[in-house]
Assembly symmetry: C2
Homo-oligomer: 388 residues x 2
């Protein structure tokens, strides 16, 4: 359960500065993110503390700039086996998160730091990760599909990112764990909180084998707007976002919108049109999201070019496969019982004699026609079976 | 049940010629169609009869050119209240069928004539028609959706075209009839045959109120390849083809391919990914077919420009709808029970005092915040309900 040591230790001063900054502004804090990016964490934190910041940074930081619990927060994290992951750390997912800076949308500002708990390495897992999200009030169908897809992804070395909520999220995490895969839970509250309470044991298992992540400082409560804000991290950590079930106005649709804004692939699982829990998925597909019905299709869409192509789905095979149109027409014309001569078959099929003859030869070769005393018919059922 | 008289009576000689031609070649007969188009029906029939035709026409007509049952077929049709609809008749759907000649695909050749039974006028109904097709081995879900969509289409003056098969087709015809709408059954056998036998009564009702159509002469048997060949007429009569349920290798997918080749819209209804009967629909959507989940979406897609726009689906309404981000954050921060002062709310929301104050005013105006003795909290549940 212990977190791995950072590859290159980050200076204590940087950790303290980022811990302070992670509490001073309510995410997403676009102005602060840009300010920190420009000055470096230590200098930026110092100026925020003094109030020596531009107007737009002040708007984001003025209310809490006197609150510095950095030492206590870092100690709290250490106490539960968590640590503060900062952009200065080699394990910061800089490539995945680069999109945050490119959108120009202030609601998609990058986090100033993330509190993480668990053995998994974000840089590694974000190379091949899918966010699997969906409704809390999921149906049995959605729960089944979410678990199934997540298990299949995990099975093929793909990390499953989700939001630890009741319903689809929980099923996705469980499916990945059951397949001994890596799963990441991104919380909308402090990393020291088990929310929802019903998922306390699940979060514990994720922290032991995957990663629990939050941009909120310890003790932060799961306020409603934080779920929406958090969704951008789900989308940003994954190459694609898969919505399994969603109502027409749902957080999952918001995650999908974030994924689209970040240039990531949006996928959705269809379901019965009679189910309100699939209505959001259908709307997403109508708006351009990729319909996926099998885990292979997800992997093909988010996978490395050419390495994860989905094979064609298994199709039924018919004994008449590969026949040309004339052969099919003669086969259709062949009586099952009372055998008929070529002239009759010519009339029935509407084909000239010189086309009927070679067709019969080929049908006989395949065991699809039987010749008896100058007449033709279909073979007995037993032989047709062998001919397949 | 009687067929209406043709608007302009077609000459008997033309009817006899087309009746002969409808039996002489097995559809699709592209060479014959072009030959008849060039020479006119009477002259073309005369030459076919004599064998005075180019090589490629001979290939299509040599086998049956000596069979002339035109008189008997016309009499048989008359006996069951049917008639021969020919391109010379003003009710021939020439605009809908024009696409057949444009594809260059010989398997999409136009029919030389169609045997029809029923009061509906093809020229009228093809102006606003949707083909609703799907699997024979449909599930209860598919049957329900097919009937529902067909009823909704019929209700809005849209004709429902289908193939009279067991399963989705039957449900579509029934749905349209139940809504007192117009429905067209296109058969793969002679119009005098009730096939499938289980649909004898259904076909009778369609003939009484809509239209039963076949390009095959009376007594023609429903050979297997004829179902596939027939599908092009379904696609050609409709502005769009809707596949409700289909396996991965199905006639419905073939109808969809025909519709696409004819430049018509292809739509598909999604379903559970766990159902093999929806797999063909999902494949079609992945290949570019439009996902539709409501009859309004079908109408919008095939409808007249701007006249049939689907309204947005009904969405849930929340009491916090229309709040700006600051107001939402303050609302999130508001305690449900123990009231707090503005300073506390400033810290909790991370917003400056000058943003918290106006947010509280607006929340109070909407009944989402309550002010008591210098402190704020959420109103009691009863009041929140009223505020919606």
């Amino acid at each position: 359960m212990s977190s791995p040591e950072p590859v290159t230790p980050v200076e204590r001063a940087v950790l303290l500065a980022r811990a302070y900054l992670s509490r001073v502004a309510e995410p997403p804090a676009a102005a602060l993110a840009a300010f920190v990016e420009g000055l470096g964490a230590v200098e930026a934190a110092e100026r925020v503390r003094r109030g020596a910041v531009p107007e737009h940074v002040a708007r984001e930081t003025a209310a809490r700039r006197d609150v510095d619990r950095a030492q206590a927060d870092l100690a709290c994290a250490e106490g539960i086996g968590a640590r503060l992951l900062v952009p200065e750390d080699p394990d910061w997912p800089r490539w995945s998160f680069a999109a945050f800076g490119l959108t120009g949308d202030p609601t998609l500002a990058p986090p100033v730091a993330m509190w993480v708990r668990g053995p998994a390495r974000l840089t590694e897992l974000t190379e091949r990760a899918v966010a699997v999200v969906g409704a809390r009030a999921a149906t049995g169908y959605g729960i089944h599909v979410a678990g199934d897809v997540a298990g299949g992804l995990a099975d093929r070395g793909c990390a499953v990112v989700s939001g630890a909520a009741i319903g689809i999220d929980g099923a996705a995490h469980r499916g990945a764990l059951a397949a001994d895969g890596t799963t990441v839970a991104v919380l909308a509250c402090g990393i020291d909180r088990a929310y929802p309470a019903a998922h306390a044991a699940l979060l514990q298992r994720i922290a032991e084998r995957g990663l629990v992540v939050s941009e909120y400082p310890p003790t932060a409560v799961p306020a409603k707007h934080r779920f929406l804000v958090r969704n951008r991290l789900l989308a940003g950590m994954a190459g694609g976002t898969l919505v399994v079930e969603a109502g027409l106005r749902s957080g999952a649709q918001r995650t999908a919108a974030d994924a689209r804004a970040l240039g990531r692939l949006v996928m959705a699982v269809p379901g019965p049109v009679t189910s309100g829990m699939s209505a959001g998925c259908h709307e997403l597909i109508r708006q351009g999201a990729l319909l996926v019905s099998r885990v292979e299709e997800v992997l093909e869409a988010v996978g490395r070019l050419g390495l994860d192509l989905a094979g064609d789905p298994a199709r039924p095979v018919h004994p008449t496969d590969g026949l040309d149109p004339a052969q099919i027409r003669v086969h259709d014309a062949l009586p099952a019982r009372a055998a008929r001569d070529i002239r009759w078959l010519t009339l029935e099929s509407g084909l000239p004699m010189e086309a009927v003859r070679p067709a019969l030869v080929e049908l006989e070769r395949r065991g699809l026609a039987e010749y008896r005393e100058g007449r033709w018919q279909r073979p007995s059922r037993a032989r047709t079976g062998q001919a397949t």
